[in-house]
Symmetry: C2
Subunit: 238 residues, 2 copies
């Protein structure tokens, strides 16, 4: 039996945020890194790098994400290990992670990085409906990450990853609309989320140009359905 | 940057079946292979082996499963890539697959293997509530596979993997009860599965000691919710 000595292991991360476009609508966006060497030199790729012998895959994903983009999500989850023989000119298995990051955290982390004088180079955020040509099989990987996100939003609190601790039902619906890429009826949406028991009303309201909107928070007594027995060791970085 | 040259890639498969115990109740069982060499010599492990340079991980999982157990499931799905630094004495990332196999297929494949004179050695089926001590982190891997199966049965047709093409509602409920490890109320269960639209009644009945029970089949017009854009390339072997 040939051992896998010629196979290298890489990690990549698809990290998504929700940002408001020029048209006022919120949409999903993610950062890509322009490659500076072959293969696929000058093309865009997911942030990532090689797994080293002394770190776990999730630690490698967090490290390479920080090195290439300066971003530090609170939660990374393994998406899939991609290993098709022809996905790279040499044989590389990529363990891919995904994460959600609030837009205000993106802004704060980017500002801190700029102030430190170590701003990452060759990084750019793209709307997911306007992606450039991508290196390797990264277009397929992003498509799969979006599919998982869309599936997951139906049975978990995953949209919370885009929201602050307190939010209005309109904020939550906007996040769902961006994830699912479709309009949701406000009254039906309210009825459905209220029926889950996952949301708790607060006594606070957001005021502004419109009539005051009640702020809600997630009910953290309800167990998140999607971590399971792996716990913090394999899926979480802090 | 250190490249991952000292890291080897393995594959393992957790393949589950539903079998009737001496008490008449159906329960989950899976095959384990007794290791013949260090590390963990003489301990039990999931069927698996090394990923070679010329095959994809799912092909390697199918090959090593056939080599060690003689089993050929119709469907293998990636479970997770396990890569903790200390999970093996040397650095090994294991891409783990899982599959469901009907008990009559297990029997037929095992009989064919015996007849061929190439019966696998050191393989034994264990009830999942009576597992032996396991090598590496395989106890954790099996715990995670069961957790995924229990989650998945709630929102997909995964229990179909244990059933023949036509089955009674009692057969289906028995599969759910074994997966969830709890008793389900027959009337509630019938109401819930009929509400999904996933089941189609046939004009055939099973007769025997009890009153005739109608046979159902899955409605294959309803899209399976859990394959997504990876399609056949990464998740299926035939």
């Amino acid at each position: 039996m040939t051992r896998s000595s010629g196979i290298r292991v890489a990690v990549s991360t698809a990290i998504l945020t929700l940002r408001r476009g020029d048209d006022g609508d919120a949409g999903l966006a993610l950062p890509l890194v322009r490659r500076t060497r072959e293969p696929f030199a000058d093309q865009w790729a997911l942030p990532g790098g090689w797994l080293t012998e002394t770190e776990s895959p999730v630690d490698a994903a967090a490290r390479t994400l920080a090195e290439t983009t300066g971003l530090a999500p609170s939660y990374l989850e393994q998406l899939y290990a991609f290993g098709a023989v022809d996905r790279s000119p040499t044989r590389v298995v990529s363990i891919v992670y995904w994460a959600l990051l609030r837009q205000d955290d993106v802004m704060a982390q980017s500002a801190a990085h700029l102030a430190s004088g170590h701003a990452p180079e060759n990084v750019q955020w793209f709307d997911i409906d306007a992606l450039p040509a991508l290196a390797f099989d990264h277009a397929k990987i992003i498509e799969y990450a979006l599919w998982r996100l869309r599936n997951k939003v139906g049975y978990s609190r995953v949209a919370h990853g885009f929201l602050p601790a307190e939010f209005t039902l309109a904020d939550l619906r906007e996040a769902y609309e961006a994830i699912l890429a479709k309009h949701l009826d406000p009254a039906n949406f309210r009825r459905q989320v209220e029926a889950t028991g996952n949301l708790l009303p607060t006594e606070r309201f957001r005021t502004g140009n419109h009539r005051p909107a009640r702020l809600y928070r997630y009910n953290t007594d309800v167990e998140l359905a999607d971590r399971g027995p792996l716990g913090s060791e394999e899926t979480s970085i802090r």
